[in-house]
Amino acid sequence: MSEWHVDPGLLQQYEQGVLNPSRVMAVEAHMSACATCRGRVPVDITWLTGNWSVVFDSIHAPQAGPVQRLLARVGLPEHRFRLLTATPALRWSWLIATLSVGALAVIAAWLAAAGETGGASRLFLVLAPVLPVVAVSGAYGSGVDPMHEITGTTPSAGPALVLWRAVAVIGAATALAGVAGLLLPGPGWYAAAWLLPALLLCTGTLALATVWSLQAAAVALGGLWLTGVCWVLGDRSEVFIPFVFGPIAQFVYLAAAAAAVAVLIRRRRHFDLGESR
């Protein structure tokens, strides 16, 4: 390198923009080859830190994926999305479990439909309402969330977080079961007949979870549904569909779900860790 270096006076003139063009070019050409002179350019440390923090964040912060962008468009803020993505039941393992149960039911229904007509989709109708309950059981709590003790002692903990996550997983599971229902052989209304029982089981599970853990409540209500329905299926097979999914039954499900919601609202505080149940 040449012996010549940019002296402080020249550097100051360069920064103020008062040098004539050839000298500017000389300074720049020299600086691109001389580390010493580059280092002499004064830097505002506040600016430097600020500029660096933007670089740091762009490298490390989670990037918005297609799902987040879609949800952002319908009004879901970024921070809420972060809360939901850490929901255990929104992990792939849970979604795949839900998906495979639904798929199994549909496949079984199709296989049965080859030989028998009408009653083929019963298996689906029996299983579909349980899917969202399985998902809800993985939404919150010490059994499914290893970080539960940290999550549960933050100011966001409590009923709001439980319900946000429950709604998110119920939504996902219902969508999966709904798609499965559309693929079902038999009368078209079968694809929707399971929705009210599913609603009852979900709200019931949440209401019961104000007494027991979410997982215990899910097992209790899911088990109760399966036992009851299987009993009807075995004992009074000929009236199964009208008895379990007929208009009267649907009305009862709706009324019971409303009651469960009322209980849930009254007892919502009990979702909190610091509360003795």
Partner: protein, 286 residues
């Protein structure tokens, strides 16, 4: 200034008494909660961290009562808590994990939250591991990450349950330095069963045994409990409950003076053992 006030706190699990009528006041600085396993340290910390509701008694954190739901949220806004088994998600990166906890701590503004995540990463010296997955972190780093999440939001009260357990000596040193720095202007309450931790970094010690507080004071006072009860003897003592041979080949005896033994300066450990012995005797007498 008092940060935490505990009055008559009790907690039972079935027939097991975890806490019995605990009274305590804790202020700014590092307070160590010392006691054997099962002494009720974790239960007390979990009650203070609002992870557990006590059966009876009262807690006040900065005047807020965690038993009242609305005030419990206020308490949570002011605490940072590192549980004994934090269960940090192994598939999250260091940065994502902190970002997530920061959201839980109500930092909804993205820019502000990221600045806070950067700050705590820097404080526990994990900036260079921001993109490393939790499962790839060493034990010491994972523990520092646990500490970092507790520090998010700059809480006044930092509760650490057995933070130094399982760390090798070098990591333990680093961790102690971190904690004492944090304790300069905050209230730090940590549980441990290591007397060295207490001697190295605590301004105050609370000793628990069988769900009760059996001592409250500074480390020097804890050592003072064994004043005039610690001896160095050339021969193995007869009928003494606690003694061991030290590096000089002498027997260190706690309790009655053996024949021809010299008095020794008590350590924190001596005081602690003395207290535990007394507590055990009291337990049996009851």
């Amino acid at each position: 200034m008092t940060t935490v006030t505990v009055r008559g706190l009790s907690k039972r699990y079935g027939s097991l008494t975890a806490l019995e009528a605990v009274d305590l006041e804790i202020g700014v600085g590092v307070t160590g909660l010392l006691g054997p396993n099962g002494a009720g340290k974790s239960t007390l910390l979990r009650c203070l961290a609002t992870a557990l509701g006590p059966d009876s008694g009262s807690i006040r954190v900065h005047g807020f009562d965690p038993a009242v739901p609305a005030q419990r949220t206020e308490v949570r806004r002011r605490i940072g808590y590192l549980p004994q088994n934090p269960g940090l998600y192994p598939n999250f990166t260091t940065y994502d994990l902190l970002d997530y906890v920061a959201v839980l701590k109500e930092m909804t503004d993205t820019r502000q939250r990221r600045a806070e995540v950067r700050r705590v990463l820097d404080e526990v010296e994990l900036t260079d591991r921001a993109k490393t997955k939790v499962r790839k972190l060493s034990g010491g780093m994972r523990q520092r990450l646990g500490l970092a999440q507790a520090l998010l939001g700059d809480p006044d009260l930092v509760i650490l349950d057995e933070p130094t357990v399982g760390l090798d000596p070098e990591q333990r040193m680093l961790f102690r330095a971190l904690i004492s720095r944090i304790g300069e202007r905050r209230t730090v309450l940590l549980s441990t069963h290591q007397t060295e931790d207490v001697g190295a970094l605590c301004e105050r010690v609370v000793v628990m045994s069988g769900g009760r507080v059996v001592f409250e004071g500074n480390p020097r006072e804890l050592a003072g409990v064994a004043d005039g009860q610690v001896w160095l003897s050339g021969n193995p003592p007869e009928g003494s409950a606690a003694y061991w041979r030290n590096a000089d080949g002498l027997y260190r005896v706690i309790g009655q003076r053996p024949e021809g033994a010299e008095a020794a300066r008590p350590s924190i450990e001596d005081g602690y053992l003395m207290l535990l012995g007394r507590a055990t005797i009291a337990e049996v007498a009851r």
